[in-house]
Structures are given as structure tokens and as C-alpha cells.
Amino acid sequence: ACAPSADGDGGSSDDVETVEVGVITSETGPLAAYGQAFLDGFDAGLDHATDGTGEVDGIKIEVRNGDDTGDADKAVQLTKEYIGDGVKILTGTVSSGIALGVAEQAEQNKILYVSGAAAADAITGINGHTFRSGRQSMQDVATAGQFLDDLDGKKVVVYAQDDAFGQGNAAAVEALLGAQGAKVQPLLVGSDIKEFTSFSQQLKDAKPDLVFVAWAGETTGSMWQSLEQQGVFDVAPIVTGLGDVASYGAYGPVAEKISFLSHYFAAAPDNDVNAAMIEAVEGAGSTVDLFTPDGFTAAQMIVHAIEEGQGDVEAMVDALEGHSFTAPKGEVTVRESDHALVQDMYQAKLVEDGDGWKPELIETVPADEVAPPEAG
């Protein structure tokens, strides 16, 4: 059989009946748990935004799921497969590296991409076809800055992994808090480090006024234990981002001493959409977690884009730019200039809860106070 000639312009008829959405994320592999949360949220969000019909404005939304297993090769494969099949909307992935790759494909092939949980600042403003449904590092950092009343002249030490994630955080602190008069000193430690003791001591000797910790991964536990053992908590308040539920145990006995900034935990926002999301996800036998709202929000954005743009990519982009709506995290806005998602952030603490830990809200930081600087 021969290939059909290429000029038959697939779905160009005026009234579209179905629009396909490709959801590419980790269902297995090291980031599977994040992927699961995103998918839970996405399904709930799609239901919520289409009132359970899976249709908007008479257009049926068909979802294709792809498992990237955290492997860039598979993600590219799925992306090309979907785009090749005429999919015009992609969303998902929890890995920043993969998200950047998909964003690249979105621009090359002129389709709409709503990035999910990946926190890399670089995704914001990367190109005209890429949006984001989650928060970015800059928002974390801005929230951390809120823990000091006045930053002017204060010494902020960023204790972070020496990799893209840590470097990004350090740069964000420098840019954001440095601009507010803080003296920022990064203490970057190789991400493959195994023995933290000496660095903890170095951190203590630096006599900081505020410590911002950006650490992810398995070594988190021993890193915190070492900060405690060397007495860093006696010197300055320590701020870090609150991770997913599974990571609560990582802080060990020091959990109560840490000041957390949080992107999301179930009890943080107080609005109907959040309640609906929790109900839907729990109804499906799962639990909400750090990245569930990202999936939910992505679905909301996509439904809105389809409703307004009828599957036409440029129209959908236009529809999303500047769009404000109520997401699980409350009122959020897609910033027109660079597609940043301006949203509330939270300050929280962990309290003991039976065998484990439970986050408690200290304060909600309003979206505009922690809006990231515009990406140029």
C-alpha cells in the first residue's frame, strides 16, 4: 500500500467535532508518583470543566495518554507520534528536561503545549506556543522572601544542589531577593554529594540571617539531619519548599523547625474548585498531592482554549493569553507577555500527626506579591 499524498489537509473543515489532546507524562519510572498526581488532577479537571460530558461547545475532547517513563527518547517519540497524527494540543510531563524538549517541538510544529508540573523558569516565555499550568522556581523564591519582614542588608544563604535545579534557584534568589537589598550568598553543593557534615558546618559559619534550601531527591533526609546535627537551626530560620506527601518523612525530627513555602497541599486553598478536585480525586480512589492541581489547571486551560479557539492553534493561544479563572489554587492568571501562571503561594509548617506529618497553613501569599519577573 502506498502512503496517502501529503496535501490532503487533515482536519481543516470548519466545524470540528473532536479535538485530540495528548497527555505525556511519567506513568512508570522514577517520576511515576508525580505523573500519577498530574494525571489524577487532569482527569478531575477535565470532568469538572466539561461538567462530566467530556465535551465542550459540542466538541468532543479525546484524550491520548502516553508514558514517557522519565526518558527523553520516549517523550520525543510520543510527541512526534501525536503531532504526526494531527494532535494539536499537548500537555503534561513532570520533568523539566522533557518539558523543554516538548516545548521545542510545540514551537517547531505550531501546536499548543500546556506544560505541567515542571518548575523550570526557562519554560516561561520560551516560545509563543508554550504555556504552563504549575508554578515556577521564581514563585517559590519570592514566597521564601516573605519570611523576613525586611530584606534590606540581610544575609541570605542559598544552600542548593549544584545542578540546573539548584543553580536556577540560586539565580532566582539573587535576582529577586537581591533586588530587594538582601546580600545573597549561594552555597552550591554537588548534587551527588554523600557526606553533608562539613557543608553544614560551612553553612553555619557563614552566619546567615535566612537560609534558603533548594534540595530534592533521595539525599534530602541526610542533608536535613546533618543541618540539625551541626546546629544550623540555632543560627537562622531555614526556609525550603514543601514537597509531595511522600517527602514529609524526609525532614525527620527537624520537620517542625523548618519554615516551608508551599506550592500546594490539600488543605491550603479554601475554595470550591479545590474542594471539587479533592472530592473527585478521592472518589476515584486516589489522593491529592503536590502536582494534582497542575493537572487540574492544565485541563481547565485546555477546555477553555478549545471552547474559544475551536481547535485552531493560533486562536487557542489567543484565548489563553491573559485568561483568568478559578483554579484549585484560587484565582490564577495566564500572563499575556510570557505565559507565566500568576498564582497564590503558601507558607506552611509541618506538625506531627500520628505516625507521620501533616502540613498546616501559616499564611497565603497573594499571587501578585510573588509574581515572577517577566521573562524577556
Binding site: A3, T28, D73, V76, Q77, E81, G97, D163, A164, F165
Partner: protein, 364 residues
């Protein structure tokens, strides 16, 4: 007369593969769609990238008996080298590729010259060390050159439009096919040439080669650098095909993956390496589908837990091949067709291992 058949067969295969994008053939379960669709072509092109990488590794292991754990370094050098050149300079694609190969070749000459001073497992470890150093460097993201953990994406500004975008996957596929052919020819050439013969002899008995008046070091270096160059050419193709590269492209894991491909296909067999590369890639890409399928989900937990992990299936399969299919696919075919001659895959492997404990006659 008899030599003609394999050549003709190979040629026919290449032609068939070349016209594939013009046809519509469905291979359910293996290809995601008909052969003209970008999804299918992307998958096939990726298979070819790994096939030529496996070919280059087979040159090292099969011909030279060099068990390298650092082969990914040269693949990564190709991918990152071109990526960085395209992003940081105004060179257009082809000169940038040329420059990348020169650079990667220089890296191969340097690291090869050092690591070939030892052999056997120590050689494996020194190469691993070099690759690890490369990997650490890439992850560290010096001067923001490599993009660290998040990888480097292809700057398409100087890339011809015909190689950009999903609609042009076809062209990338043809390019990948061309690269497999080039890799095959280069490997064939080295294998058939005198220097290749000397390398093969050195694999078996280095002292003997020296006592005949030849320098095995030179032969092995030629093989090593040729393998490295093909690997970096493959890396270049990878960057173009994937529109970017990630640190995995320099990691030890990739070398191990390639080793698995070569063993699967049959060490010492050129077409075995190609088949091994293709099959591994297909399995690796498509098993995820099987693992996530409803059929697997409905199994009891003892079966469903392992079967829903693609790497488990792949690892188990690999074990079975090593245990029950010695000589890999090529070895089995040879045995079935009764053409098993002097060189079997596991014999070549043994030579690679013995290298480190060959007892020389007494030495001060």
C-alpha cells in the same frame, strides 16, 4: 559468485528501507502507525541511530576485544558538540558537523591513547572513568553550555528547514538510514583491512603480535578511534532527530545499553549489532505500551507488578538471551544454518576478558 549474495541482499534491504516512507504498511504492536506517519518513521529512525551506535561498539568489542564502559562519551561528544556549536556560533549545519567530528575524534584519540595503556577490566574501568568525568561535566553545566540536567535543545536557526519539524521526520529518517549505511561500510572496511586483522589478532594474543614485529597498540587505537568517530556521528544524528540531547547521552547507562544491544545481536557480527540495536530500541520503546496495557493490569499482583515494569521485562529477556542463546541472534542463526566457523560471539567475549590476566613469561 557466492560473495555476491550478501551484498545483493544488503543492497536490497537498504533500498526497501529507503522507500518505506513512501509506502503505507501497518505493523501492529511494533510500529505506532503506518510506515509513512511521522510516529513510525521517528521510531525507525531512532532504531537506526542505536543500530549504528551498536555497530560502532561492536567494532570495539567484536573486532578489537576492547570492553569499553565509556563508549557513550563519544556519542555524547557528537550530540553535545554539535548542539553547543549551533547554539554558540554562527556556523551552518554541515561545517558544524565537520567541526564536531574533528573535536570528537580528538577526544577519542586522547582518551584512547591513555586508556589503551591497560587492558581487560582495568581498561573497562579507565574508559568508565573518562565517561563518568564527561558525564559529571555535562551535568555540572559549565558556563551554561550543556544545560545540565535539563539537557540542551537543538537551536534550529542554522539547521535547514527540511530537517526541522514533525512533517519532515521523513528526511531525518533518510538521513539516519544513510548514517547506518556509512557506519556499516566503515566498520566493514576496518574489519577487512590489515589493521583490523591485526587488532583481531591482538585481541587473542597480544604478546604474539608483538613478537611478530607489530605494534598492537596502534591497531587498537585505530579501532578505538574509528569506533569513537562513528559513535559521535551517531550522536550528531541523535541531536538532529531528537531536537536536543540529555545527559543520559553521555552516561554509563547508555554504554551498558549498547553493550546489551551488541550481546543481544551477537558479539562480533556486524549485522547482529544492527539487529540487536533495532530490537532493543523497539522493545524499549514499545514495552511501555504492553506494561501499561489492560491485559497486564488485570493479572494478579505477583504477575502484574513485574510485568508492568518495562525494564523488568527487558532485563529478564536479556538474562534469558545470555543464558540460553549464546552468541546472540547472529550466533544462533549461524548455528542453525551450520555456518559456525572459527569465531563465535562468546569466544570473542572470552578473549576480551582474558586480556587482563594473560600471564606473560617471567618478567622482572
Amino acid at each position: 559468485m557466492r560473495r555476491f549474495t550478501p551484498v545483493g541482499l544488503g543492497l536490497a534491504l537498504v533500498v526497501a528501507l529507503a522507500v518505506l516512507p513512501l509506502l503505507s504498511i501497518q505493523v501492529p504492536g511494533i510500529l505506532p502507525g503506518p510506515t509513512y506517519t511521522p510516529g513510525a518513521l521517528q521510531l525507525l529512525a531512532l532504531c537506526m541511530v542505536y543500530a549504528s551506535l551498536a555497530l560502532s561498539y561492536n567494532l570495539l568489542l567484536g573486532t578489537g576485544g576492547l570492553l569499553s564502559f565509556g563508549h557513550a562519551l563519544y556519542f555524547g561528544a557528537g550530540a553535545y558538540g554539535l548542539g553547543i556549536l549551533l547554539e554558540r556560533t554562527d556556523l551552518s549545519l554541515w561545517p558544524a558537523i565537520g567541526l564536531t567530528l574533528v573535536g570528537a575524534g580528538a577526544v577519542a584519540v586522547l582518551t584512547g591513547a591513555v586508556s589503551l595503556r591497560v587492558s581487560g577490566i582495568p581498561f573497562a574501568m579507565v574508559t568508565l572513568a573518562f565517561a563518568q568525568a564527561g558525564s559529571v561535566l555535562v551535568r555540572r553545566n559549565p558556563e551554561g553550555l550543556t544545560g545540565g540536567e535539563e539537557g540542551l535543545s537543538l537551536d534550529t536557526e542554522h539547521v535547514p528547514a527540511a530537517l526541522v519539524g514533525v512533517v519532515n521526520t521523513r528526511n531525518l529518517y533518510w538521513l539516519a538510514l544513510a548514517i547506518v549505511v556509512v557506519a556499516y561500510l566503515v566498520v566493514l572496511w576496518i574489519d577487512r583491512s590489515r589493521v583490523g586483522h591485526v587488532a583481531a589478532a591482538a585481541r587473542e594474543n597480544e604478546l604474539r603480535v608483538r613478537a611478530l614485529g607489530l605494534q598492537p597498540y596502534t591497531a587498537k587505537l585505530v579501532v578505538f578511534v574509528a569506533g569513537g568517530l562513528i559513535a559521535s556521528l551517531t550522536g550528531v544524528m541523535y541531536l538532529l532527530l531528537q531536537s536536543g540531547t540529555v545527559p543520559r547521552a553521555v552516561g554509563a547507562d547508555l554504554t551498558i545499553t549498547v553493550l546489551v544491544m551488541v550481546v543481544l545481536g551477537g558479539v562480533g557480527s556486524r549485522w547482529g549489532a544492527i539487529v540487536g540495536g533495532v530490537i532493543y530500541t523497539l522493545l524499549n520503546q514499545r514495552l511501555t505500551l504492553l506494561a501499561g496495557s489492560d491485559a497486564v493490569d488485570s493479572l494478579p499482583a505477583v504477575l502484574h507488578v513485574p510485568l508492568s515494569e518495562p525494564m523488568f521485562i527487558l532485563g529478564a529477556l536479556f538474562i534469558l538471551v545470555v543464558l540460553f542463546v549464546p552468541g546472540g541472534i547472529a550466533g544462533t542463526t549461524r548455528r542453525l544454518t551450520g555456518r559456525d566457523r572459527t569465531r563465535s560471539g562468546s569466544a570473542v567475549l572470552e578473549a576480551a576478558d582474558q586480556a587482563d590476566d594473560k600471564v606473560l613469561e617471567p618478567q622482572p
